[in-house]
């Protein structure tokens, strides 16, 4: 069986990085002290080499989730590629709870197996047939999803994507871009390029479209763009602000904030009919709507009580009820997929931070140590929140686990990056 030297791996990864145009890099800033140790052994290659180090992608995925601590390759005591070659005592000796081994066949198929070290049993084993070598990275993410779910019981979100806005330049010469990349920052692709600001990207529930706000006409208007075809429509361009588009869970409606009647109010657009229904009537700013997972209500930001707080609008009754009472600034609410937690930006003594509130108890806790957080977006499995913040004077993306114990950062190679939106499950 073949050993991978770390130098060879390094070179391969650098090649992959340039091929994949990774505009975002990953920095693990905090690992959970309760992360489960797992050994991911480099997959044996028995034929043509794949352009991806499968085991490395799996290890990085699992580490990024905050719930796993992969052993470094230097500490891999043996390099089995199938369960028949595994000596469980070896892996107990290095304190690995789980072991992943695999091999790439001559036909390009990938076989992997997941072992429970202390239970001394094989938990999972599968073969994935690749349509082509360019699918190898996607296959690795799929394996990560399956391993994650087998161990935690939670569906993995490693095969998802993130949309985000880039800004490069200064003053009047900033160039803005809207991009989509894999959830680990790889394979970034430009969706829109503009001289004028872009903000608030939001994914359709089927993962095929993005709604966003663009200033390209000189005023903020809402666009819906199909990702595969690049075709787009201007959904809303009334006088004043057309902002904060939010797709309903059934994909048929777009909530938004429109100020055409004098001050920003929440409206819902029926996308098919092109009709608009006004929801809020207040003299205050009402903006940043986001739907509850059951589509029966939406959370929005309003400063009707004097400063921005989160409110829930019930679609059936038409009533708005205040949700947040901690501190004097809470905005940009986003529900967890189970609807039981509300993530938001909370201004406290430390500055603007991502926080979460338990919907039953009302208890709010902050999740970050940074001071200038914005735009939280929840992973479709609810385990992590990606958001924008500042690091060293630059805008960077960061992510924190829902329990606040693990985090990683995604700075861009150049310029600022901001306004992240986590895609729904795509597979």
């Amino acid at each position: 069986m073949k050993r991978y030297s770390s130098l060879w791996c390094g070179m391969l990864l650098m090649m992959i990085a340039s091929l994949a145009h990774a505009d975002l890099t990953i920095e693990i800033t905090q690992g959970s002290d309760r992360a489960t140790p797992i050994a991911v052994v480099p997959f044996a290659e028995q034929g043509a080499q794949l352009p991806t180090d499968i085991a490395s992608v799996i290890a990085n995925d699992l580490e990024r989730s905050g719930q796993f601590k992969p052993l470094s390759r230097d500490n891999l005591i043996a390099t089995p590629s199938a369960s028949s070659e595994v000596n469980y005592r070896d892996w107990r000796a290095v304190d690995a709870d789980y072991l992943v081994v695999g091999k790439v066949g001559t036909d390009g198929s990938i076989q992997y197996e997941l072992m429970d070290v202390y239970g001394q049993e094989r938990m999972l084993g599968k073969v994935i047939n690749l349509a082509g070598p360019d699918q190898s990275r996607a296959a690795a993410h799929r394996i990560s999803d399956e391993i994650f779910e087998a161990i935690t019981g939670i569906r993995g979100a490693f095969s998802t994507q993130i949309a985000y806005v880039t800004a490069q330049g200064v003053g009047e010469n900033i160039q803005y871009g809207l991009q989509v990349a894999d959830a680990d920052g790889y394979n970034s692709q430009q969706i829109l390029s503009s001289d004028e600001p872009i903000l608030s990207p939001d994914w359709s529930p089927d993962g095929q479209k993005l709604a966003y706000v663009s200033f390209e006409t000189g005023r903020p208007a809402i666009y819906i763009q199909n990702l595969a075809s690049s075709q787009r429509v201007r959904a809303s361009s009334f006088e004043g602000i057309n902002g904060a588009p939010a797709w309903s869970p059934d994909g048929r409606k777009l909530a938004m904030s429109l100020s055409k009647d004098g001050q920003p109010e929440i409206y819902v657009m029926d996308i098919g009919a092109g009709s608009f229904q006004r929801l809020t009537r207040s003299d205050a700013i009402d903006t940043e709507p986001s739907w509850a997972p059951d589509g029966q209500s939406l959370v929005f930001t309003s400063d009707r009580s004097g400063g921005p707080q989160l409110y829930r609008y019930d679609m059936a009754s038409g009533e708005a009820k205040r949700l947040t009472f901690t501190g004097n600034y809470n905005s940009r609410g986003r529900f967890a997929p189970d609807g039981e937690t509300l993530f938001m930006i909370h201004r406290g003594s430390q500055g603007f931070q991502v926080a979460k509130q338990d919907m039953e108890t009302g208890r709010l806790i902050t999740l970050t140590d940074s001071r200038a957080d914005e735009s939280p977006s929840v992973a479709p499995n609810g385990t992590m929140v990606i958001f924008a913040t500042q690091q060293g004077g630059k805008g960077v993306l960061s992510a924190v686990s829902a329990d606040g114990k693990a985090s990683f950062r995604l700075p861009a190679a150049q310029g600022d990056v901001r306004e992240p939106a986590w895609s729904p499950f795509l597979n």
Partner: protein
């Protein structure tokens, strides 16, 4: 206005070109603190609404002056506030007079905020500031047809930076003729 939507799977090379081509150095920046000159004379500057006051222009006599458009075109705001500070009332008056006496002239009032807080809420705050300026001008007799409001929220800061001074320079309304 240069905008290009891309299809997925098409743009990897293009994105690199865009990235490479986009490291431009800064263009002109709005938001000098000229408007604060009015503050140096404290309450005195709020006397009199005629031309010739601090910060406002004479009628087209200076170099670079365009037909008497007042020279000071930015006013600044306090954190979380959209009230017009008294030190800027003379600036406002100068613009009101210019617009009243030039009924064919029009101006876009651009509202801006500092970078703190969430972007869409800041878009709304910037609009609130520009609306306050618009209302003031209309009370001074300017026709609404000459006024347009656009908010950029925190999207177009005058200066980068996270100091109180930077924040103060970004909380502004700009008269864009």
């Amino acid at each position: 206005m240069h905008v290009t939507p891309y299809a997925k799977h098409l743009a990897a090379a293009l994105s690199l070109v865009v990235m490479a081509g986009c490291s431009s150095t800064g263009g002109t920046q709005d938001g000098s603190m000229a408007g604060s000159e009015g503050a140096t004379s404290g309450g005195a500057s709020s006397q009199g609404m005629n031309s010739g006051q601090v910060g406002s222009s004479s009628m087209g006599m200076r170099d670079g002056q365009q037909d008497g458009i007042p020279q000071v075109r930015t006013i600044y705001f306090d954190y979380d506030r959209d009230t017009i500070r008294s030190e800027f009332e003379s600036v406002m008056a100068a613009h009101a007079e210019y617009l009243r006496s030039h009924p064919n002239a029009s101006v876009v009032l651009q509202g801006h905020t500092d970078e703190r807080g969430t972007r869409e809420y800041n878009l709304a705050l910037g609009e609130r500031r520009a609306n306050a300026v618009q209302r003031f001008l209309m009370v001074q007799g300017v026709s609404p047809s000459q006024l347009e409001v656009v908010s950029y929220g925190e999207e177009r800061p005058a200066v980068r930076g996270s100091s109180e001074d930077s924040y103060a320079q970004n909380r502004r309304v700009v008269f864009d003729y």
